[in-house]
């Protein structure tokens, strides 16, 4: 199969990208790393298992979805709005981080990560989960299970799972409207 290029346009972290000629079948992760210099989405397994490479897709209805970039072609994102780990924190006009997102802040406070390789994926996964909880709040007793289920597919080789879980639980409990009493 010849790898012809095809023009593509998308929005990444609120910035319009393209049209840019991108080889068909190039994986999204390679596009982010090589074309946009956004290297935060990590290459882990390259097989769609570890979820270190995920990004947020902002759907047209305003909801957020998580997508793996190591096994999904760049052209699948044509016309879509994507948020990578680099676009999660608040930044000033110079691009310097001014405010971490609540999830990022909680991960630091809970010492959730050690080597940090899986952290971008966990931030993305937790961000998408909290977005869902805003629309579909869960009861307090179900909260741990819901977090576990949502983040279960993310692999952490330092086994920091419990601290990730505690951090996300903290954010969910502190944010009004996510957990019903």
């Amino acid at each position: 199969m010849t790898r012809a290029t095809k023009p593509m346009s998308l929005t990444v972290n609120d910035r319009q990208v393209g049209p840019v000629a991108v080889p068909e079948g190039l994986m999204m992760q390679d596009f982010l790393h090589e074309y946009l210099n956004l290297t935060g989405a990590r290459m882990g397994c390259g097989q769609g298992i570890c979820h270190a490479c995920t990004v947020v897709v902002e759907e047209e209805d305003g909801t957020l979805a998580e997508m793996r970039t190591c096994i999904v072609g760049a052209h699948w994102f044509e016309g879509r709005r994507v948020r990578t780990i680099e676009g999660i924190a608040e930044r000033d006009t110079d691009g310097a981080v001014t405010d971490l997102s609540p999830v990022q802040q909680a991960f630091i406070e809970h010492f959730s990560f050690q080597c940090g390789y899986c952290t971008p994926g966990f931030v993305i996964g937790a961000t998408v989960l909290l977005d869902r909880l805003q629309r579909e709040p869960v009861s307090r007793e179900d909260l741990e299970e819901v977090i576990t289920e949502a983040l279960d597919k993310h692999i952490c080789r330092c086994t920091g799972y419990i601290r990730y879980l505690e951090a996300v639980r903290d954010v969910a409990l502190k944010t009004p409207g996510l957990v019903t009493s």
Partner: protein, 433 residues
């Protein structure tokens, strides 16, 4: 006047006779047993001990464990729900527990359950228990399984009550079913075929009970012998045609089939769903000579070494430019990351598409179901593992998936018929029924 009387009289007699016959069947008067009287004699403890080890192998080849142990349940204690069009039947406890299992069953009662489909107290078993197939087992093999099961740990786990609708909850009605669907004969070796072929026939029909899934069922849910092993749809998936023609179509030769049954994964793809369980619990443990015999029989050759070569890769079929453009984009975006841009796959990670069985089947059902619902992580025999395949039900609309199916089936499976969006829609609806 007289003539009328005769007609009435005759009709009355016929009706009474039919009613009497029905009552007789209902109460078991016409049950045909293939169990000989020699098994009335109990096995001596020493005999049981000597038989148990062989029984472990026979029970494995007959795949008893897969149904009689629920996931996460106690071994041999039953409890697996088996969904039928008439309700749920629960597999029973066949550990030697005296209260809940078969601890009090005699050798003869066990033989009658296995080969006549009759329980300890004479009530018919539901044919979810494949006694129609096990009927062909030799008395020696049944003895061995009995000896093996009796050597297991008793599990005090009560059987679950079946959830069947009326009239299917009346076990005695199965006597009518048996009358029509339970063959009177037992396994007969054929003198004009080799030992290997005959052994394969026995492994396929009696132990492996392959026909229970691969032979379509008639209106009475009995195995339709005229379409023996020609494939059937079960729980939304096709158990493919495993006759010689069907196997050749899928790209097998006899040795590669034997290998596939043992390893569960090969160039032809990976076993999934119910067939994964068959490999997981049963065929991976079969002896090489039994795997070879099974393959020789299915390919209808006397010697596996003499089996013909597999057919060449089917020629790609042209599809319209519109379908190709849509499907190629989908494939490169959502499939190629694992299955390769040219369908070559990644060894030990994702199976190749170029030689995949599913693309060569006439019915696109299995392909569509797999793409819609994905495949869970699978732990194949040995050290092979397969990562989960994602589900794409909410990533692809009916048209995109239909185009993908048409294109992949044409390109690698040599299938010329277009898959339509309504095919996809129907399968999506089936999943919700």
């Amino acid at each position: 006047m007289k003539k009328r009387f005769v007609v009435f009289y005759t009709a009355g007699v016929v009706l009474i006779f039919m009613f009497a016959a029905a009552v007789a069947v209902f109460f078991g008067a016409f049950q045909s047993s293939v169990v000989g009287s020699e098994v009335e004699e109990p096995l001596l403890p020493d005999e049981r001990k000597a038989l148990a080890e062989r029984g472990a192998y026979v029970a494995t080849a007959a795949d008893c464990y897969a149904c009689h142990t629920a996931p996460g349940g106690a071994p041999w204690a039953g409890g697996l729900p088996i969904e039928t069009p008439f309700g749920i039947i629960y597999a029973t406890n066949i550990s030697p527990d005296k209260e809940h299992g078969i601890g009090e069953w005699t050798r003869a009662e066990f033989h009658r359950a296995m080969r006549d489909g009759v329980g300890k107290h004479g009530a018919p078993l539901y044919p979810a228990m494949p006694y129609v197939s096990y009927r062909k087992m030799t008395p020696e093999d049944v003895d061995a399984v009995y000896a093996y099961l009796m050597s297991r740990e008793p599990m005090p786990v009560a059987d679950k009550t079946n959830e069947l609708t009326f009239p299917f909850n009346m076990r005695r009605l199965l006597r009518f079913w048996n009358l029509l669907n339970l063959p009177g004969d037992t396994f007969q070796a054929r003198d004009d075929r080799s030992e290997q072929w005959n052994r394969g026939h026995y492994v396929v029909d009696a132990l492996g009970h392959c026909g229970e899934c691969h032979t379509p069922r008639n209106v009475m849910m009995g195995m339709k012998e005229s379409a023996y092993l020609q494939g059937a749809v079960l729980e939304g998936m096709e158990a493919p045609d495993v006759t010689r023609e069907g196997l050749l179509r899928m790209g097998f030769d006899a040795p590669s089939l034997a290998h596939f049954m043992q390893r569960g994964v090969s160039a032809q793809g990976g076993m999934t769903g119910d067939m994964f369980e068959v490999v997981h619990f049963s065929t991976q443990y079969m002896r090489q000579e039994d795997l070879d015999a099974m393959a020789a029989y299915l390919f209808d050759v006397d010697d596996i070494a003499a089996a013909e070569e597999p057919p060449p890769q089917p020629e790609p079929v042209e599809v319209s430019a519109e379908i190709a453009a849509s499907a190629r984009g989908t494939y490169l975006n959502l499939c190629s990351g694992c299955h390769g841009a040219s369908g070559e796959g990644i060894p030990h990670v994702a199976v190749p598409m170029t030689t995949n069985i599913t693309l060569r089947l006439e019915d696109p059902r299995n392909f569509l179901q797999t793409v819609l619902h994905g495949i869970p992580e699978l732990d194949f025999p040995g050290v092979e593992r397969m990562q989960p395949m994602p589900d794409f039900a909410d990533k692809l609309d009916d048209q995109e998936l239909a185009d993908l199916a048409t294109w992949m089936r044409a390109r690698w499976g040599g299938q010329g018929s277009d898959v339509s969006p309504s095919d996809v829609e129907n399968l999506r609806r089936e999943a919700h029924d």
